[in-house]
Subunit: 426 residues, 2 copies
Amino acid sequence: MTVYKYPEIAEVKKILKRPEIKSKDLSKVINKVFKLVEDKGDSALYTLTKKYDRASLNSPIISLKDIKNSEKFVSKKLKKAIKIANKNIEKFHKSQIKNELKVVTTEGIVCWRKSVPIESIGLYIPGGTAPLFSTVLMLGVPAKIAGCKNIILCTPPDKNGQINPIILWTAKLVGISKIFKVGGSQAIAAMTYGTESIGKVDKIFGPGNQFVTAAKKKAQTLGVAIDMPAGPSEVCVIADNSANPIFVASDLLAQAEHGTDSQVVLITNSASLIKAVVKEVEVQKNGLSRMNILNFSLKNCKIILTTDTESSFEIANIYAPEHLIISTLNAEKNASKVKNAGSVFIGNLTPESLGDYASGTNHSLPTNAFAKSYSGISTESFVKKITFQKASKKGILNLAPVIKEMALAEGLDAHWKSVEVRLNSF
Amino acid sequence: MTVYKYPEIAEVKKILKRPEIKSKDLSKVINKVFKLVEDKGDSALYTLTKKYDRASLNSPIISLKDIKNSEKFVSKKLKKAIKIANKNIEKFHKSQIKNELKVVTTEGIVCWRKSVPIESIGLYIPGGTAPLFSTVLMLGVPAKIAGCKNIILCTPPDKNGQINPIILWTAKLVGISKIFKVGGSQAIAAMTYGTESIGKVDKIFGPGNQFVTAAKKKAQTLGVAIDMPAGPSEVCVIADNSANPIFVASDLLAQAEHGTDSQVVLITNSASLIKAVVKEVEVQKNGLSRMNILNFSLKNCKIILTTDTESSFEIANIYAPEHLIISTLNAEKNASKVKNAGSVFIGNLTPESLGDYASGTNHSLPTNAFAKSYSGISTESFVKKITFQKASKKGILNLAPVIKEMALAEGLDAHWKSVEVRLNSF
């Protein structure tokens, strides 16, 4: 943890510069995987799953029986917890789609937008050390609310060709039944081209390692949309004297345990808080299971001392963190100062974990300063909004002189003619 | 114009396959331009503008005086037309931002979203044969409504270093005063890195040729968001016996005049309509100024004869056109069948030109089948939606057991601890 005292804005930009993602050129290996999957379909998936996951498959499909059986391996308590989280996420994400009203822009001209579900979508859930069933909720719930017809879920198998039953059970709870045990760039390629078992999709969602990220970029060049660019997870805590150092330390640690590349930033106008937080981090760290990761990621933790809370927000807006925790007096009032952030946690009693799992907000959020321009995942991520317009005789008569002037000035006379032939018919 | 009779769905997919965009590898030249602009700033812009636009600059900035003077060169009639279009676009785009309500997901947990403007945005307006001032409205109006603080407009100069005054006048009307005479990939590079004159932006909007498109992709890899992938413009007309062949022919011609790569599709269940439309296209073509382009793009025009209107919509949804014109009986009722399209024009009296200029809907729309997953530009394209949440004591107590179960099952005990330390303080 490094403390920076009263840095100038130019300096702040350097201090908070994210580590450059070593974009090792993965295009060779990604292109190879895509070519193989395009040419050989399912059989390519078996080859690649053997190579990368060391698992032997004779089908990538997870049977409905396996999905059903998963319930035996999930505790009652965990089921209850996931159900509550599911309900909250559902409640918040249902509030996000509104019917828009028809707007009469000129007499006789009516315009409106309609949210229409993206028909086929693919969700990618990474494997690895922890089963990220919470991400199944965060992607699956809004997809269902949006009304997506074909929802595919891909997740890598372990060496024995198995998927964690909590992932299967959560998918079933959400209503997803097309689940495939395929991971990595081959999963993205399969959803891009389609194989005998796996349907081609229109948009791919979900986190992943650098191979998955590179594969999603490749998919995008092939006409498949993706949710957003991915990067390491981030938290920024803005605190003042009113903050509890025990809480702040726990918030920094919660972020730091994600991975060795986790980004952890504290901005405060209180020198005494910094002292207390640094001490508390050491104390709390020792009880935790992911010490190896913590020791690594905490080294990179940055603490900035500012002159006042106003400056703290200014700096946080420059950083544009994925998660922003506001632990100050009048936290809710201060929240109006936030210009760039993915999700904001207001007050001393709102740790990020609430949003990670169960408050109802989405945990798929923009990282790497993309919070300046991207929103996190919402129900809107699973629809497109189509515009409609209808003109009456009165309407086209009203706009005809406008179209004539503008189309001819742009040198597009057939544009004007398409109006004129209609006028001539009256 | 080629007529296909009653094709099977598999065949339809082949017929309506877009021509592959010859993605000549432009990365070498784009990388060179970006490097030069990053290293040399404005002076690189002078070099590149001399090279590509044959214009000598000593500043890329268009002075406020030049912007003001533009009014002398725009006719009264055109000004009036642009003002009406501006008002309609404003009216429709103002209706798109709504305050969302706070949602209590669990007792003591409140969640909400807030639309926050993207601070700095760049608009690219292509040069070339026609001054696309309508695109200035389509991008500038929603940017202003969204509340973007820094709006930059780049457009290439002609050989004499001049910008078309209609573009300047329209920009002034919208309220944009930071206008730069820089075009091509160097404009995109300037907005990505920032130069002495041109500020770095968070998101870049606007159409352009293959160099601009490749440069926008490059910008995206450097952390700048872009509006959407660009491709040739498209129209699909669905018509039945009730359609007027004169109108339909004029709609096909209006699309065909855009460029030699324009995509023009007619889908109808009426063989007699096809006959009449083909004849009418020949008749109307002769009066038009862009004959060279028309002769080229009409060759590629596809006409599909279907058994019924239901099938016509099924085929149009597979194609996912940028613009869809519905010229059938019960056109508005049929509009509910649209699953994939950018903007829809309902009925015999709603030609695409209305939406291109003045109905109020946006004309920046997804092409190349991206209408399956992308929306056109709206006010929402210029904001991000930040989520907020606040827990009371009651709220965190309610969710604590949920977080405990889920965090521990995901192996993230520091996540649970950040809740536990708060409970311990009660």
